[in-house]
């Protein structure tokens, strides 16, 4: 089935995030082959030009590589994926802390709350 896109971000960016998520969670493994542009476009219900752009930008980020005549693959370079994970983590924390400040919480208060939650999940 086609996927639902949120209205406030370009569709190609949402698809990039989706694939990055798959790679960071390991759903798409190191060195694994991605579906062809056309297959992926049909799967998620977007036009092939949009999907082409997604693949091109992932390649520019050096998270995937295109092998002539074979298609696109997740990079074999684990360091690049680790770097991406760290970068995304920093971004998440920054956005989160901005919200924390906007609602007038102190960082200590939030850390305490997070530790309590962390305990529940362990």
């Amino acid at each position: 089935m086609s996927i639902d896109f949120s209205p406030d971000k370009p569709i190609y960016q949402q698809l990039i995030d989706r694939i990055l998520g798959d790679i960071m969670r390991g759903t798409l493994g190191v060195g694994e082959k991605l579906p062809s542009v056309r297959e992926y476009a049909v799967e998620v219900g977007v036009n092939a030009n949009t999907m082409q752009r997604v693949y091109k930008e992932l390649e520019q980020m050096e998270i995937t590589e295109t092998r002539r005549g074979q298609g696109s693959f997740v990079t074999e370079d684990q360091e690049k994926i680790t770097a991406l994970r760290n970068e995304m983590k920093e971004q998440l924390v920054t956005t989160f802390l901005q919200n924390v400040a906007a609602f007038g919480f102190t960082t200590d208060e939030i850390i305490k709350s997070l530790q309590e939650r962390g305990g529940e999940n362990d």
Binding site: P7, R38, V42, V44
Partner: protein, 229 residues
């Protein structure tokens, strides 16, 4: 590739298109939106060479558009015009006899993808399956441009999803262009590169979907609503 310059089209004393100037680039999927009676169907017919302007010029790769353009442009009307006693197979044979660029193998492939049996009689098909057959015989032509008048209208969500996927799967945006009129903009937006908005026979906006989201921070539907305020 398709260029319209200062087109005026009248039906009697009523102006269906007023001073329309517009360029359609190659290799894009374009949605034509606007209220009923805003001129969408007239514009598609004009691009298909099925109707001629009263003034202004319509060209395709520099050549004036006439009925002969049908050999490069596949037009799908919003009405059902099939011989009801045909089977799907006979309909394919009929199309193959009418259009040089009709690819019988591709037609069967698309129908298989959409799960329509070749032996069914047109009159026994559900409305949804007639919609599937209609898009299949249109896309089976190896045309440069597909002009689709309301391909999703009146069909249930499953069929709309199927037709959308058929469009992605069986057209090649590296060389083919799709222009479709639609009211289902929220649903169709992921299929589009560009949107052309019409109102009262005029083009009031033409914008890339990514630009709308990037620049205005809203989806195409909200953007379009804001244009009409």
């Amino acid at each position: 590739m398709i260029e319209l310059k200062q087109i005026v089209k009248k039906y009697g004393s009523k102006r269906a298109l007023q001073d329309v100037t517009l360029t359609i680039p190659r290799g894009k999927v374009i949605g034509l939106v606007g209220e009923n009676g805003s001129g969408k169907s007239t514009m598609l017919k004009l691009m298909a060479g099925l109707s001629l302007p009263n003034s202004g010029s319509a060209t395709f790769d520099g050549q004036p558009i006439t009925r002969r353009i049908a050999s490069r442009i596949a037009y799908m009307s919003d009405t059902d015009a099939f011989y009801l006693y045909f089977t799907v197979q006979q309909l394919i044979d009929f199309y193959a006899s009418q259009f040089e660029d009709f690819d019988v193998v591709k037609a069967k492939e698309i129908l298989q993808f959409l799960n329509v049996s070749l032996d069914s009689k047109m009159k026994n098909l559900s409305k949804g399956n007639r919609g599937r057959v209609k898009i299949a015989v249109t896309l089976a032509r190896e045309a440069d441009v597909y002009l689709l008048d309301e391909p999703f209208s009146g069909l249930d969500p499953m069929v709309r999803d199927d037709i959308g996927k058929g469009l992605i799967r069986f057209t090649d945006t590296e060389r083919q262009t799709i222009i479709m009129s639609t009211h289902e903009i929220r649903e169709v937006e992921p299929l589009l590169d560009e949107i052309i908005v019409m109102r009262g026979g005029r083009v009031i906006a033409q914008e890339a979907v990514d630009e709308i989201r990037d620049f205005y921070g809203v989806d195409a539907t909200s953007w379009m609503v804001s244009l009409f305020k």
